[in-house]
Symmetry: C2
Subunit: 118 residues, 2 copies
DNA sequence: GTAGTCACTTTCCTCTAGGTACCTACTAAC
DNA sequence: GTTAGTAGGTACCTAGAGGAAAGTGACTAC
């Protein structure tokens, strides 16, 4: 009998790692469009603020899912790339996209049904 | 060029659905231990409060991932069960557990390396 | 007549993630 | 000399999620 929530659910740590706020769009974009600069990420994701993007990128770098390359030029140039470890998540992302395609409509139906009956 | 974050990342909706706070432990527990009552869930998950458990269960029921059965007895008895739609997520959970087993150590190593170099 | 069980509900409170806005150094270009 | 551009950093503020604690209703057992 464990009181620690991590042990009640073995995937809790990886969920924290991969599916915390903003990390999915960042990893997805890096995986989809390859190595790119800070502003490119910012524009592609669209609604993220630079402060939060920096925070999340630092965290992902620390976790070894993203590689940061700093070029000391003027103006400065920094490139972000998904690491090999990060790329190993691609099949899971693919599975999720697949599940989404197949079942998201059922979720919408369930919601409509639930809302009709209050 | 889309500014909507959902379109920048096709799996954003399913991430919101499945990996928002507390939903993973709940779904995992229901999938692992089968149909069970409110208090059983509460005890197994351990640190969740009744208020939040109710909220999350309602949401999962609305999304069609969980089935709720109310028995009008005294004291009242309510049973929760994972739905077929919910069960279709099991392979994804399995993949995550698998990835976790294989790669979580590398994440720890990456963190140690990062923290050493400040 | 009081305590206990269950599945919540309600009220109040805290805490922190995230947003806004502004600042930084450095140089080129106008 | 001022404007632009990059990759952030910093200070301040707010909304909302979530926790704590107590209440509820209906019945039973003691």
């Amino acid at each position: 009998m464990e009181t620690v929530p991590e042990l009640a659910c073995p995937i809790a740590p990886v969920v924290d790692l991969v599916f915390s706020r903003w990390t999915t769009p960042i990893l997805w974009t890096l995986n989809e469009y390859g190595r790119q600069r800070f502003v490119e990420l910012e524009r592609r994701i669209g609604t993220i603020t630079p402060k939060v993007l920096t925070q999340r990128l630092r965290q992902l770098e620390r976790d070894g899912l993203v590689t940061r390359t700093y070029h000391p030029e003027v103006p400065p140039r920094v490139e972000y790339e998904i690491s090999e470890l990060g790329r190993s998540l691609a099949p899971i992302f693919h599975n999720l996209a697949d599940w989404s395609k197949r079942n998201l409509a059922q979720v919408d139906e369930a919601r409509s049904r639930y809302d009709e009956n209050n």
